[in-house]
Assembly symmetry: C2
Homo-oligomer: 214 residues x 2
DNA sequence: TACCAAACGAGACCGAGTGTCACTATCGGC
DNA sequence: GCCGATAGTGACACTCGGTCTCGTTTGGTA
């Protein structure tokens, strides 16, 4: 199997065992995205997927917690990077701006192939209700974790409303920006995506003031 | 709407067929809540539940789309009432305030037994990951629908950020208020719940301004 | 080389959810 | 009150995702 440019799975510094595990994981995700895109999420059974990759079902479930998970790897990577950024850097100034900055940093840290995989994932999600449910839930978990982290870092009460609101606003901005970007087939690359995200964040303060014309 | 002791399933104005269907539905929800609470969501199989109620599995799936759904009926009722309020009344003034008012109205419209059932549901959700995922997804759907309705009513673009942000803020306020209320075992009844909800909404504007101490 | 631990494959098993079909009960028209 | 159309029901077979067990292989280590 040819990988072109190097990737985590080729990292010679890792023990062979781990490299193999990562390679299996990546092969599963790639194959899954290809099969699901070609025939639909529901039409491709797990048996067929693991057969294609030539691993056992056991191996699949050691790599992924559910069928849905392997289809939305790109989504998972994004939010993992976001939470990493959040944990890794100090906070100062306006918190919503900080969240925006961390999300931007996360996107910039993703590997070069991510763009393509993310768009394929999002298109897939639109066709399979089970996937939509899965990402909704996953995103909620990310929001909770981000909010908990903020509350901790800022010394706030565990169920203070404010960090929760901010965490949810940030993911909402992402949804809107990403949807438009995917609709445009990723035109403009990551720069365009991050521009859309910044636009979204800029228009947040106006939201609270929104009024219905009499 | 006041049902007193009678309930929708006893409403003599409905055709007998519909009354039966509603009664089955209610019995399933009640029995499910009882069994799940007593033995755990995972430990009670659908076969056992339908056996207890003396209906077939087919009948169950005609009444509910999934095992999770029957466990969170109270949650579903709340958000259905919320969307009803939203669709049924005109908008004027600040939109976030309006959403708060609609949610309050929804709570007031729920039947008297709802309080107890909702608390049982929420306690259950804390113990079963599958239920958590289900309500997360369901709530996201409600937010989407509310946002779409607002956008339509206000003549905004379909992916305008503002109604989405407001819709999500309102459900976030609900989460925080309801969690505290359930933790207190519903002390103070609905009045206390609605007070907590109002408090939450009042503290929203301060969120955007939140800053990290330098 | 020998040993240990970790990952793997095979396959039995469970339970949710779907589809089919014959049966039964309700409803509306007469 | 009778009767045909129709909607709801039960029984059952089936698919498929996910768990568990256990014997085997493979990479790390002394």
């Amino acid at each position: 199997m040819l990988y072109g440019m190097t990737s985590p799975a080729d990292d010679r510094s890792l023990p062979l065992r781990d490299r193999k595990r990562l390679r299996t994981r990546r092969t599963l995700a790639e194959t899954a995205l290809r099969l699901f895109t070609a025939h639909g999420f529901d039409a491709v059974t797990l048996d067929r997927l693991v057969d294609e990759v030539e691993v056992s079902k056991s191996t699949f479930f050691r790599a992924f917690p559910a069928k849905e998970a392997v289809a939305v790897e790109a989504e998972t990577e994004l939010w993992r990077a976001y939470l990493d950024q959040l944990r890794g850097r100090d906070l100062s100034g306006n918190v919503l701006d900080a969240l925006h900055t961390r999300l931007t940093g996360a996107v910039e840290a993703l590997d070069p192939g991510w763009d393509e995989r993310y768009r394929a994932t999002r298109r897939l999600v639109l066709t399979a209700p089970a996937l939509l449910a899965y990402v909704d839930h996953h995103r909620t978990g990310v929001e909770d974790e981000a909010a908990a982290h903020l509350a901790d870092r800022l010394g706030l009460d565990a169920d203070d409303l404010r960090p929760r609101v901010l965490a949810r606003i940030t993911t909402t901005c992402w949804s809107v920006a990403a949807r438009a970007w995917v609709r445009d087939d990723g035109r403009g690359g990551r720069a365009a995506l991050l521009n859309a995200l910044a636009d979204a964040h800029r228009s947040v303060p106006a939201s609270l003031a929104l009024t219905a014309g009499r």
